[in-house]
């Protein structure tokens, strides 16, 4: 199987990273988002990522921004995905948005084109259920920054075919990434566990057991983690973390996933983490 033209729907942080990786590895990308503004911001971010990639990894191919720009089609029209070999979707973590999108994708994109669902917590089987091709839908949970992270959590949904798993592994192989394949329940492995860490860290801060700095230092200096749970939440975006916790809570109806009130308050106050300059920590470079 040859994968040359990859559709990327949703050009936010992760989507931009997927486009960067696809272009760096010689494929072309059809990038779909809801407005020209979103697409232009994404294009600028992709070209910056491509320029700076050699500073972060000697293993990544070196390409010019011009070469990357030539292989990137920016559009608000989902029909442009019809000629793609594989589609990776990265829209907002919201079931209503995903449901509407997959119904439209299923109608517009020919059968045989497989969908990789990039979601933090929503069940891949639930998403596949709104399409007529559940065997061709698979979860692909890229880590951030996508082009620098060598491993991807892949989620086999209830109906995902072996051929679809193989197609995604071919794509990830072309991106020089390793796949770890797991089964489908909300949150999968990574986020079902990591969000408990982040949420409980927020409770520890709320209960004044320690400052945000100290909580993160415990994880970095005692556990050897590269980042603490509150820094990680700030990087992901507190709104995204809150939505994921809500999905986990609704999915399992287990109180251990109830979102910490302090986390929810910060979201309502507009302190969403790195992207707004303030979350659990303050960032001067935002």
């Amino acid at each position: 199987m040859t994968l040359q033209r990859i559709g990327v729907v949703g050009a936010g942080n992760i989507g931009t990273g997927v486009v960067t990786d696809v272009l760096l590895h010689g494929m072309s990308a059809v990038v779909v988002d809801v407005s020209r503004d979103h697409l232009e911001r994404a294009q600028a971010a992709v070209l910056d990522n491509i320029r700076c990639a050699p500073l972060f990894s000697k293993a990544l191919p070196r390409i010019t921004r011009e070469s990357a720009a030539e292989r990137m089609l920016l559009t608000t029209d989902l029909r442009q995905l019809a000629e793609c070999d594989f589609v990776v979707e990265n829209v907002t973590e919201d079931w209503k948005i995903k449901k509407d999108l997959y119904e439209r994708l299923d109608a517009l994109v020919p059968a045989g084109v497989r969908f990789g669902v990039n979601t933090s917590c929503i069940s891949i089987t639930q998403i596949a259920s709104v399409t007529k091709r559940p065997g061709e839908v698979i979860g692909v949970h890229f880590m951030n920054p996508v082009h620098l992270m060598p491993t991807v959590e892949v989620i086999r949904a209830f109906h995902t075919s072996d051929e679809t798993v193989q197609a995604l592994q071919t794509l990830l192989g072309a991106l020089q990434k390793e796949a770890i394949v797991v089964e489908d329940l909300p949150g999968f492995v990574s986020n079902r566990i990591s969000h408990l860490f982040m949420n409980e860290a927020a409770f520890v801060l709320q209960d004044r057991v320690a400052s945000a700095d100290k909580i993160d230092l415990i994880f970095k200096k005692c556990f050897g983690h590269r980042m603490g749970p509150l820094e990680t939440a700030d990087l992901i975006g507190l709104d995204t973390v809150m939505r994921s916790l809500d999905v986990l809570y609704e999915s399992f109806r287990d109180s251990k996933y109830r979102c910490c009130p302090l986390l929810r308050t910060l979201v309502h106050a507009g302190h969403l983490g790195r992207k707004t300059g303030k979350g659990f920590h303050v960032y001067r470079d935002a």
Binding site: R51, C52, P54, L55, F56, T64, P145, Y283, D285
Partner: protein, 89 residues
């Protein structure tokens, strides 16, 4: 621990000021590896390249994009010196 060069060149002072203003740090070892320490993310890298190009009138080409040229305050100052002998525009 070695910290700041007590008699830095104007280029090094400008680079140090820029980096400290960009990251949440009060002090920075001039040899500290910004990438290994996790100080530099991709947004910071873009800002650093843009700062070097604008401040010192240097065009950073593809062959210059080596971590060795930008990994620390000292490495960045040395790169600027090699490229144009210094001089803040």
């Amino acid at each position: 621990m070695k910290l700041e060069d007590p008699d830095p060149s104007p280029e090094k002072q400008a680079i140090r000021r820029f980096i400290l203003s960009s990251v949440a740090l009060a002090k920075l070892d001039d040899d500290a590896n910004l990438f290994e320490a996790g100080i530099a993310n991709s947004l910071f890298a873009v800002q650093l390249l843009s700062f070097v190009e604008k401040t010192f009138s240097i065009e950073v080409g593809m062959d210059d994009l080596d971590i060795e040229n930008f990994k620390s305050v000292n490495a960045t100052a040395a790169f600027v010196q090699r490229r144009n002998g210094g001089g803040i525009v």
